[in-house]
Symmetry: C2
Subunit: 365 residues, 2 copies
């Protein structure tokens, strides 16, 4: 499987006129090599493919072991740069051109590559590997499915516990502990818990604010299962029946999120998904409170292509997992976020597959 | 204080012939601007200093608010690049040269800077800000002192609990929860817990292995307090009295760590600290099992300058916080790590100040 992915990349490079590719983005290396330690670099071609790393990856836990059929090169100098070693290796193998990831390599590292291999022409690989990662295979999708189940379980257990009086920080840590309890390698990203005036803020960093009666409680979490990262967000009301403004705002965000989900189909332009959700909230007068986008791809990274934004170019394909996560925050009052991870499927297969199944009713806890 | 730091950087730039500086490394921006959202960029000069960010930093929690006396520029396009906006702004302000952090900027971003400001000469700021951060002021050191106390408290509580049968993952999460209980913003880095054969591995990622009688238990953690990150590692034996090989290995690593600590004084070359610890373990036959370095600076980043390695150039100064963290891992058996955070002080002031006060006796838990 990994060899097939590298073969595709190799073809793409040859078509673009580069004899070899040097991959240095961590998620890209992992996608093409199987597990690899952080900071490793992968040289694809010109002859055999090699994984260059500082430490011995086989000593790492098995989940992180590189796939078979790769030459593992452990750098002699532990503080050496795997990308630089990769460029030396490509030059030594007789390559005249090497495509590198200019959006991952810093200017300083790129200069170091030039200096060790001055006769090697450095091309830009661009986001070739990120593009290859957009459509997932069945193994990737089942990892995401399990990750989503784990997050649903952790969230479900939290809802059964006492919430009033606990701080955002503690609820977030509790959720992360439960993710691990249920088999996650860890959280997919920093768990966000926002209460009262903090609810509805995208990426809110949990504070010491305690949950109070009548608060909106906004939770955004995800599990990392075998490197694949799900994402789910839900908003609840604490204690009594929700206030009218809370019900109204919740219904607006829910309608927007549903409109976005219903757009998920092969061939739909990314921007149409964003638009479908955005118009609902603009009509409700929240236009200027919306974030830059309504959703994004998930996989080996929590936030990867495609980006569902007003200006995004491109169309959805089948087997692309994305989030649909609109939210509105009213300064001083709080707000609502609703976020699912779904897989784009053709109508014939029943349409989008919902991976995050926690209810989206407005629950009063 | 922040203004004074920026003034020093401005002088250094002018001396190097650059009319303005664009800082894009997150920790560097935070050091010069006070709090700032991730991904912000700081333009120092040519006229007023500006913090460029995607979202409104004042909306963030107070700890992350930028200092007074800075112009805050929130990008109109939420997906814009603050560094690119900074270059535009420098050019608009009439600067002809701008020093940028080539070790933080990717090749793609650097190209984007050139294209928006083609007549602006881009110089390399290098690690000027990192160098400025090496010697800490009293406020920074007291933040580190509190961070170290928090980690000691979390560790002390863990030692009083039942350990046998619990997994590395759960012990790590428990420690991180306790860090937050005691006032940390969060862990300074991913808490490492290694048991039995996993003990003594640097940066070991916690697994589902459960603590057993007779294991070495290795814990490495740190607290993030107001952005400053302490680090401490201790090794314990579980249950009965330690085996002879465990006592012998522990004494060797302890002797090496003490030898390193005793070298900490203003004027000592970095490499001499590394050497002092390394020779002890080489004499014990562990030379080839040692990592690339024996310690490193701590501050706004867990791992910053100075690096205490065999090849490091430079000498220690007073008020530089560093770790001394040798470790040895015997494949299949496990190993020992002992790690303190200390502040370099002159002999007259009593020598190095130990911030991590948890005992370094070999405890059987």
């Amino acid at each position: 499987m990994y060899a097939a992915r590298r073969a595709r990349l190799r073809e793409r490079c040859e078509a673009a006129g580069s004899e070899a590719a040097l991959v240095s983005g961590d998620a890209n290396v992992r996608y093409l090599a199987g597990g690899a330690p952080t900071g490793a670099a992968l040289l694809v071609g010109p002859a055999e493919d090699s994984l260059l790393c500082r430490g011995d990856p086989v000593a790492e836990r098995s989940a992180d072991r590189p796939a078979e059929g790769l030459r593992i090169v452990v750098l002699p100098a532990p503080d050496g740069d795997p990308a630089v070693a990769g460029a030396e290796r490509a030059a030594a193998a007789g390559a005249r051109s090497l495509a590198v990831e200019e959006h991952h390599l810093t200017v300083s590292r790129h200069r170091a590559l030039r200096s060790v291999a001055p006769r090697l022409r450095l091309d830009d690989l661009g986001t070739a590997v990120e593009q290859q990662r957009v459509v997932k295979d069945n193994e990737e999708i089942s990892a995401l499915r399990i990750a989503a189940e784990i997050a649903d379980q952790a969230l479900g257990e939290l809802l059964e516990s006492i919430l009033v009086g606990r701080t955002e920080r503690h609820l977030a840590l509790e959720l992360e502990r439960r993710l691990v309890d249920h088999g996650a390698a860890g959280p997919a990203f920093t768990t966000s818990v926002g209460t009262g005036p903090n609810s509805g803020l995208a990426g809110h960093v949990p504070t010491d604010r305690r949950v109070e009666e009548g608060d909106f409680l906004c939770v955004c979490l995800g599990a990392d299962y075998r490197g694949y990262r799900s994402e789910v967000a839900r908003t609840f009301v604490i204690g009594t029946t929700p206030a009218d403004w809370q019900i109204e705002l919740y219904d607006q965000v829910f309608a927007a999120q549903r409109a976005g989900r219903e757009k998920l189909a092969p061939g739909t332009p990314y921007r149409d998904v964003d638009r479908a959700a955005r118009v609902v909230l603009e009509a409700a007068g929240h236009g200027e409170r919306l974030g830059p986008r309504i959703g994004h791809g998930v996989g080996l990274e929590n936030d990867e292509d495609p980006r569902l934004t007003p200006s995004a170019m491109g169309k959805l394909d089948a087997c692309v997992p994305v989030t649909v996560d609109p939210g509105v925050h009213l300064p001083g009052r709080g707000g609502v976020r609703i976020d699912d991870t779904l897989v784009v499927r053709p109508e014939a297969d029943g349409g989008p597959e919902l991976l995050t199944i926690t209810t989206k009713e407005l629950l009063a806890l």
